[in-house]
Point group: C2
Chain length 160, copies 2
DNA sequence: GTTCTTGCAAACCCTTTGCACGTCT
DNA sequence: AGACGTGCAAAGGGTTTGCAAGAAC
């Protein structure tokens, strides 16, 4: 849980409260508890994983509320959603590592996050070529270990 | 249908036939007819759009066969699948424009394809930093018109 | 003749929705 | 009081699967 300590939950809750107020949404206990639990989740989690986590930690909350609150958190900018291949949308706390993209190891499923400022430049350059203004982007790199089946992180993953 | 004429269907069918043979899949009439229809589809299409197209063009085929054949075509490299935001997976013929990415206008929904060789370099560079070998990537840029609501392609889109 | 593929429908997963009840303002 | 949010279950869209009949090898 080392990542959790680095995040100032109270500050996030304030930002969320301000957003809700400005957008004329109601500040409910459920919404704040969901934000608290989002902070406690591992880096990438699905709506259902969050639901299971909350139900197994004594929180009484429905899937519908989780989905709707995650959408509010996304619009508030506190959470980012990614549609990786295969399953469901994965969410992550935006404050953990802003403006990053993902490298997905097809050997072990590991997700590596990276920041590439040059990519931002490239994205803006390409958008300008089409007379458009880049709002955001999503780059996913699918990669393998140089020697097939010898992913250096496979052991690490198995140990978890 | 100008794009269709530029594609050598027979050559694609040969490539698919070779793939099926090598992988010990059977060469069936359905699989070849699906490939023919994929060539006739607009650039980006969903499995269901292909299904509807085939059913309205006298082809008797099931959704299950469409999905399984699209997966074979993908593994054969003839077709690429994209998970844009919102709906279903969109497929496209790989030969039309290889190694490209997508710019999505959030005003009009238009999908612009672009090739950026610098991106390929960047992707490889990033992968190497993590001792991985890039297999493929997917970059989606979400963009808007400089003046809100004045997308130069909106008229074009409405005219269709 | 055996194994694979097909078509159909049902199942499946993830997400959204309708509704009655509860809560915030 | 009124509008909005919640929980539940049911519906929804997209995709996959189980099975009997049919086709490829």
């Amino acid at each position: 849980m080392e990542t959790a300590e680095r995040v100032d939950v109270e500050q996030l809750k304030e930002r969320f409260a301000t957003f809700l107020q400005e957008q004329r949404y109601r500040n409910t206990a459920e919404r704040m508890r969901i934000l608290e639990c989002v902070v406690e989740m591992p880096k990438h989690f699905s709506a259902d994983e969050l639901y299971v986590y909350m139900r197994t930690h004594g929180e009484k909350v429905s899937r519908a509320t989780i989905y709707s609150t995650l959408e509010l958190l996304r619009r508030c900018g506190l959470v980012v959603g990614h549609r990786f291949e295969g399953g469901s949308t994965k969410y992550e706390l935006a404050v953990r590592l802003p403006n990053h993209d993902h490298l997905l190891c097809t050997d072990c499923g590991r997700i590596v996050e990276f920041c590439a400022p040059q990519l931002q430049e490239l994205v803006e350059q390409i958008s300008q070529q089409y007379a458009l203004r880049a709002v955001r982007h999503s780059l996913q790199i699918f990669a393998q270990c140089p020697e097939f089946g010898r992913c250096p992180y496979q052991r690490e993953l198995a140990a978890q």
